[in-house]
């Protein structure tokens, strides 16, 4: 069998409540800035939960295409924005200008698109509420007045795979693709599927994008009623942590085989070394307290990477601030790493849980932090949970003990993923 290709990262993009570039977001994290605020989108005065990590930029500031903006939702806007930022930072369009037409066609067909996204939103369906109200219980009237009440492009505007489609059309990318709607692991799986497609030679280059905008009334309320949301602050691994806070955003990485990247003298930021994906199979919301799924995912990633635990320089946890998720992550890390555990950090406390984009932005920021040689502190952390006190959780910023990071993501359905990247020395 052919040896698998080595896969490198050559471009990065990110946008969330903390900023609209990876470096800017990391600066904000290092300053200890919490970019979570009262949600302004609706009157939340009487709401038990009013916090979110909302992206404040208007769509027009992010994408200059009025016609397209009429057709897509905020989640798509941040996804396309992050994707094109990553493509630019990798110098993709500049390189393509140097290609002859036939070579560019082949470039496009060998360029994959892997997107992690939400499977849909509740507010999409509110477009029908005026019609249902007006029809007053008559289904016949709903059918008859449909065209007068609902935008004819309603369905297309809400396709979960819109970012695959529009990033493809706008940037003429035509290769293998996937759109992964797998809650909290969607973003990580988009990187993992791109990585694997490059390894086996289905593509030469690929963009992995995660995007989501879950800060909408019904989602926030459901999460709150399910006991998943924090009272005031997302304080991962803290003894007093009370839950998660949702955020909006997108992040993207350009991946290439080492050969493809070197052939065009691309900037090589990092190499992807291994991944692991597991399920705990206990239903939508439960998490195993023994960390079984997380531990197995880490072991699979280490095995594929051919690394020992002591070679990992830092761990970026999922750290969503809920009691059982954080605890079980800690238990899993202890189980796999024993007593030699690298510094542990996480990022959601600053801008919220981006759900389908979480693994994407965590990977982008993990890499940016590695390049600066720093493990960012978890700023709001006051008292580490007594049952996790033996773990080197970063209350203050530290140095990674190597150039390699392990990134963990978790999602509904007991799904877990682990990804290992090594920053290129500069």
């Amino acid at each position: 069998m052919q040896t698998a290709a080595r896969v490198v990262i050559t471009g990065l993009g990110a946008i969330c409540a903390s900023g609209k570039q990876p470096e800017q977001i990391l600066d904000s994290l290092l300053d200890g800035t919490i970019s979570i605020a009262e949600i302004g989108g609706w009157d939340g005065e009487n709401w038990p939960c009013r916090l979110g990590g909302v992206v404040g930029f208007s769509p027009r500031e992010l994408i200059n295409d009025r016609k397209l903006l009429k057709l897509i939702k905020k989640t798509d806007v941040v996804g396309i924005y992050a994707a094109e930022q990553a493509l630019n930072s990798a110098g993709i369009s500049a390189y393509r200008e140097s290609l002859a037409s036939a070579a560019d066609d082949s470039f496009a067909e060998r360029f994959g698109l892997y997107v992690g996204t939400s499977g849909g939103y509740y507010d999409t369906q509110y477009d029908f509420l005026p019609l249902i109200s007006e029809a007053n219980g008559s289904m016949q009237a709903i059918g008859e007045r449909l065209g007068e009440s609902v935008n004819p492009m309603w369905l297309l505007g809400n396709l979960p795979n819109n970012v695959v489609c529009h990033v493809g059309i706008r940037n003429k990318l035509k290769g293998a693709n996937a759109c992964i709607t797998n809650h909290g692991t969607s973003g990580s799986l988009s990187i993992i599927e791109a990585f694997e497609s490059l390894r086996i030679g289905d593509t030469d280059r690929a963009i992995a994008i995660g995007h989501d905008a879950p800060v909408e009334p019904q989602t926030v309320l459901y999460y709150q009623k399910a006991g998943l949301l924090a009272d005031a602050q997302l304080t991962p691994f803290d003894a007093d942590r009370s839950g998660c806070i949702l955020g909006e955003g997108g992040a993207a990485l350009v991946l290439e085989t080492l050969e493809a990247a070197e052939s065009r003298s691309a900037p090589i930021h990092a190499e992807i070394l291994g991944k692991g994906c597991t399920s705990e199979a206990q239903g939508l919301l439960p998490v195993r307290v023994d960390g079984d799924g997380v531990a197995r995912a880490i072991c699979l990633a280490l095995e594929q990477a051919g690394l020992e635990t002591q070679q990992i320089g830092m761990i970026v946890c999922h750290g969503n601030g809920t009691r059982t998720s954080d605890l079980s992550e800690g238990v899993a890390i202890r189980k796999v790493f024993g007593t030699h555990i690298p510094p542990i950090t996480c990022f959601k406390w600053a801008f919220g849980h981006l759900l389908a984009a979480a693994g994407s932005i965590d990977t982008v920021l993990a890499l940016t932090a590695l390049q600066r040689g720093i493990v960012p502190a978890i700023a709001p952390l006051r008292n580490i949970d007594p049952s996790l006190q033996d773990l080197p959780i970063a209350k203050v910023a530290r140095e990674p003990i190597s150039d390699t990071a392990l990134i963990l993501s978790r999602g509904f359905g007991g799904q877990n993923s682990a990804l290992i990247i090594r920053a290129t020395s500069r």
Binding site: W42, D43, G44, W47, E109, G120, Y121, Q125, F128, L129, P130, L131, I132, S133, E134, M139, Q140, A141, I142, G143, L146, P152, W154, L155, L159, P160, N162, V164, C165, G168, I169, K172, K174, G175, A176, A178, C179, T181, H183, L189, R199, I200, D202, Q218, L221, Y222, K225, C277, T278, S279, A281, Q282, G283, L284, L285, R296, G411, F412, G413, G414
Partner: protein, 418 residues
Amino acid sequence: MGLVTPVGNNLGETWQSLLEARSGVAPISLFDASGFSVRIAAEVKGDTYLSNTGHKRLSKAATRSHLFALAAAEEAIQDAGIRPDAANGHRWGCSVGTGMVSVDFPELEALQREAAPAGELNTDLLLSSSIASDPIAFCRSQSAQGLSLLVERYAIKGYTTSVHTACASGGQAVGTGLKLIRRGDCDYVLAGGFDSMISPLGLAGFCLLNAVSTDNHNPHTASRPFDASRNGFVLGEGAGFLVLEEWEAAVKRGARIYAELAGEGNSLSSYRITDSHPSGDGPIQAMQQALQSAGIFPEQVDYLNAHGTSTPMNDRSEAAAAHVVFGSHIKDLSVSSTKSTMGHLIAAAGAVEAAICALTIHHGKVPINANLTQRDPDCNLNFICDKAKDQAVRVAMSNSLGFGGSNSCLVFREPGAS
């Protein structure tokens, strides 16, 4: 394999209906569609599939499409004669193509009454609404719920994923399953798709786009892929699941092997949201990659189960693609779109049609492209018409082309022929 389709509540019934070309299209019964421009669809008939949906604890948190999935998956697991156990559960994966998230229409109506009396959502009223307080409604409406129900039911502990590329979802899910086994992530994968958009919102979405056939008075002939008079697809619903297994392991345990899933291809048209280029650009690359991934030459393919939606643009682009890929072999290639009898199962279509391809190899019969009376000169392929054809199928290909431009192609081969 397991199927729940508009023409059968299981694999055997569906296959028999396809061979007899019994149409699954009829006036919509699931809700009052009398005011809609389109009043026909291919609904799953009856509820015998409900005997396969498992414990009530699971099914109460399931939507209609999740119930299809639970039933089809159970049939597939039983049919395969193997299931995850404590020793190998972590080597099992699950890859599913899911539909767009939606809530049941009665729930949306209740939400309107309680929280949007004037038509605009009142967030304070939402706080006290029954739907927003119902944890089961929350779970049911989550995009990972279908997958979660399946992995919980079977204790699947390896790589699990939900994908959505509109009408290509099912094909991509099965293709993902192949990749998981090839790259060693899993030894077994439960792969499939499920969907039901025969609801007021689902139908409305397609009516607004004028994508569905308005032949309300002739439901049986409304879906006529590749016919010159075709005027849109017919909305279907259902689920299809396949148990994929690493070849050596399957042989070793003496499994009944329907077919080898030999290759998959995957491309993006990047032309328009709803169509690929009339030249076939996009689907061509997916088909060529699938053949390459299978190590099969175009002239070895005996049967193409076309995406064939019965919309003017899709069928023309797909036929053009087939001409480019198969060249002079096109006259010998049997082609049919089984959407002509069972309608378009959207996110489930690719998985159901993958199972059909495996059945053509297993049984040596090719189902027909129904309702083809006026050939479209732009779609000049060797269609199987009138009655199912007895034919030794050594290699079968299935296309799934989605809104958004994702194209998926799967290639199946007679077992042991590689």
